[in-house]
């Protein structure tokens, strides 16, 4: 099995196992449509963030500000629902882009390492979310039905957040594989200096990748706000770590240059399926889930390290 992992599709193999075994153990309970859709809907928000996070990590960067961006965009969306639904969607997205732009500029122009730059931005953004809400939850206007639809609605029987996630994933997979921008992310993460010498637009693309992450985080914030019917200033905390671990579990190297959004999607499914199995078990404490996830991240990183050593 480890050998199969080495071939690069290990994460999807794990997904298959995580579907088949519980299917046998829990039978129809696991396979009921509501359960499956629940599993996927849970995944959608972290999934969106992780699309951006994957791109950032491929460039050998990291973005710790995503959780705070979710919170800020959620509360602002909630505040704007009473005025205009278009603004309630548009303005949070603009804010997400702005936060990404700030991250990117600090990293490329002020030459601050991504970890510190985005940590600082995370604190500031979270602070803004606290200040404008006075730490209180903001309710979505009751008549904002189209807004509620984003998080709770169904299209063709499929929850809207899942549709959004799938569309975003497909677009970004294509971008990573078949555009100059996408390929340059790999080049930057592989050897930034070489990428510069090859004439790639390194700084611009790094800024762009943080903007994308900000945009996806804001989108996740809008969905969250819509699902909860409220924007909460404390929401999304710890999501950056959930997202990073999904990326790592999928098999994207945190050292940059290697990875893909497909892998991350598998990583998302793995984390969610494990969570689901624990829930179905019923008698396992949900905190145990954290311990299991921690162990899985560690194992995956060890396997990655072994693979790298073998290749050298």
């Amino acid at each position: 099995m480890i050998r199969a992992k080495l071939k690069g599709n290990g994460a999807w193999l794990a997904v298959a196992i995580l579907v088949i075994i519980p299917a046998i153990v829990f039978k129809e309970k696991f396979f009921s449509l509501t359960n499956l859709l629940n599993v996927l809907r849970q995944s959608s928000m972290i999934g969106l963030i992780s699309i951006g996070m994957t791109c950032v990590i491929i460039t050998a960067g990291i973005d710790l500000s995503v959780g705070a961006t979710v919170a800020l965009s959620a509360v602002i969306a909630a505040m704007l629902t009473s005025r205009s639904i278009v603004l309630a969607i548009f303005i949070p997205l603009v804010i997400g882009v702005t936060i990404g732009l700030i991250n990117g500029v600090i990293i490329t122009k002020l030459k601050v390492v991504p970890f510190i730059a985005t940590l600082a931005v995370q604190m500031a953004v979270r602070g803004i979310a606290y200040i404008i809400t006075d730490l209180k939850s903001v309710a979505v206007a009751e008549d904002a039905l189209p807004f509620i639809f984003i998080g709770r609605g169904y299209l063709f029987g499929i929850p809207v957040p899942i549709i959004i996630l799938v569309i975003a994933a497909v677009i970004m997979i294509m971008t990573c594989k078949r555009t100059t921008f996408g390929r340059s992310l790999y080049a930057i993460g592989g050897n930034e200096d070489a990428a510069r010498k090859m004439g790639l637009r390194v700084d611009r693309n790094i800024i762009l990748v943080y903007i994308l992450t900000g945009l996806f985080s804001a989108l996740a914030g809008i969905i969250l706000c819509s699902r909860l019917g409220a924007g909460q200033p404390v929401s999304g905390s710890g999501w950056e770590m959930d997202s990073i671990s999904s990326v790592a579990i999928g098999g994207t190297l945190l050292t940059g240059g290697v990875g893909s959004i497909e892998k991350t999607m598998a990583g998302i499914l793995i984390t969610t399926l494990i969570g689901n199995i624990i829930n179905l078990q019923g008698d396992i404490n949900s905190y145990v889930q954290k311990i299991i996830m921690g162990a899985i991240v560690l194992v995956v990183i060890l396997v990655q390290k072994r693979t790298m050593e073998k290749e050298n």
Partner: protein, 505 residues
């Protein structure tokens, strides 16, 4: 367009914080010629190249490329004009496929998306043209340095360049690989592409270049057809003094007492070492010659306790020993200056003094607390003794030239008063002047009774400095040369003996 020259740089001047690093330099390259740019470290070669490739902007002067004045302000712009640099450290992305490395930033597209099929096909064609048949879909890192170098060249050909700059492109290649590279250079030349060639290896310059431009201290010394210069003349012009003593230093046979420091018998380790014998007497300089992969560095690593022998015995001063860790070897008075000083030798962000004292902490510290004054005084002493060129001992070592970094590493080991020093390619990538000083140092050390194992790919260096030369081939002894038997030809014969072909020199 009908200009004889592809490149003309006129009156180039460049200052860095009021220090003039280039002064009114003229530099011209004809179409389809291989032009060598020579000079010691700090002569201004790399500054000139960086101005040409858009990394720096010039303060004064003009650059004409293909008859038109250009002002490249980025590497991208220079590449678009047809100027492609290939750097010393290979500037490609190891994780990406060979094909992608050739095409990245100028991918072939279909309907806005990258057309991978076409890219793989084209990449294969280009490499085949260069005589290389490899799987272009595999990641670049699965191939060796030589192939990677060729891929870099393929990339610049694909970009349709009119001039390729090879800055120390051969420094990490072995002789066979250099020959492959030279064949490619000749091919490019026949297609009318000009090559700007920079190398520290003089024989290469004479083998491949048509003309030579020499810089010294930021000024032009002159431009000469290669055939009009002798090696000695070239070096004299580079260092600005008579170079007879550098190039034509004759070895002298010394009498060495039959007192053995080290006796290694039939050392075996893995597939690389298949039974090697090595004796070193006290105060003797023993050379270790052989092709890359013959087991030279591997043997040194076993002697120093980095790797372990599978069988065989090592005696030092008549006592059998077996080091498990370099620590133990160091305690025993053994020093090892490794080949790759950037990776294994220096700690770039520490000062000259810190780099010098780091292996000798015991001597400069009390109960684990470092005595800075003591460290400084040792550093001052060695900076003076080895004539290390540095503004002060508090300077970061990364700001020193390669030759001076090497001297700091040597000083580091010397400060421990070792009995035995292993030098693995001590003069690689450093200029002629510094090289002479390092060689002087080797002689000085051995006359103080220190035994030395000198590993070098440069036969002349071995011939000049060694009392005895042990030649390795395929992890075994191919022969030993002694006294008057020592000559480049004989080393070459021993290496070639069998079915090994030797290129270069």
């Amino acid at each position: 367009m009908d200009n004889e020259y592809i490149l003309e740089m006129k009156g180039i001047t460049k200052q860095f914080s009021n220090v003039e690093v280039l002064h009114q330099v003229d530099f011209k390259i004809k179409k389809g010629e291989v032009h060598a740019l020579m000079g010691e470290n700090g002569a201004g070669k790399s500054t000139l190249i960086k101005i040409l490739t858009g990394v720096y902007t010039k303060d004064a002067g003009q650059v004409f490329f293909n008859g038109e004045e250009i002002h490249p302000s980025s590497t991208l712009e220079a590449q678009q004009l047809g100027i492609s640099p290939i750097y010393q450290e290979i500037s490609l992305i190891p994780q990406l496929s060979v094909a992608e490395n050739i095409f990245i930033s100028r991918e072939i597209k279909k309907k806005g998306f990258i057309d991978w099929k076409e890219i793989y096909k084209k990449a294969e064609e280009i490499l085949k043209d260069l005589g290389i048949n490899i799987d272009v879909r595999k990641p670049l890192r699965s191939y060796g340095t030589a192939i990677q170098q060729m891929v870099a060249i393929a990339r610049s050909i694909m970009i349709n360049s009119k001039m390729v700059i090879m800055d120390e492109a051969t420094s990490s290649l072995d002789d066979d690989e250099v020959q492959i590279l030279f064949n490619i250079i000749r091919k490019l030349k026949s297609q009318g592409i000009s090559i700007l060639f920079i190398s520290h290896r003089l024989p290469e310059i004479f083998e491949i270049s048509d003309s030579i431009t020499i810089l010294k201290d930021g000024s032009l010394v002159g431009e000469y057809p290669t055939s009009s210069l002798s090696r000695t003349e070239l070096v004299s012009k580079m260092i600005g003094r008579n170079a007879e003593d550098v190039v034509n230093y004759k070895r002298t046979n010394r009498q060495i007492k039959d007192e053995y420091y080290l006796r290694a018998k039939s050392i075996k380790s893995g597939v690389k070492l298949r039974g090697i014998n090595l004796d070193i007497r006290k105060g003797e300089v023993v050379g270790l010659a052989g092709l890359l992969g013959a087991g030279r560095t591997e043997l040194a690593r076993v002697l120093f306790g980095i790797d372990h022998k599978d069988s065989g015995s090592i005696e030092i001063n008549g006592k059998e020993i077996s080091f498990k860790l370099p620590r133990e070897a160091i305690k025993y008075g053994i020093a090892f200056c490794s080949e790759d000083r950037k990776v294994e030798g220096i700690i770039p962000n520490m000062t000259v003094a810190e780099n010098l004292c780091i292996t000798n902490m015991k001597k400069v510290s009390y109960f684990g607390v470092i005595n800075k004054r003591k460290c400084s005084s040792i550093a001052e002493e060695f900076v003076k003794k080895l004539r290390i060129k540095t503004p002060s001992i508090a300077q970061n070592i990364k700001n020193l030239s390669g030759g001076n970094q090497q001297k700091v590493i040597l000083a580091r080991w010397l400060s421990m008063e070792p009995d035995f020093i292993i030098l693995d390619e001590p003069t690689r990538g450093i200029d002629v002047g510094a090289k002479k000083e390092i060689e002087d140092l080797i002689r000085q050390m051995s006359s103080q009774g220190i035994s030395i194992l000198l590993i070098s790919s440069e036969f002349e260096e071995l011939v000049r400095n060694c009392d005895r030369i042990v030649v390795l081939r395929d992890g075994m002894n191919a022969g030993i040369l002694d006294g008057n038997d020592i000559s480049e030809d004989k080393i070459m014969n021993l290496i070639a003996n069998g079915n090994m072909a030797v290129g270069g020199n």
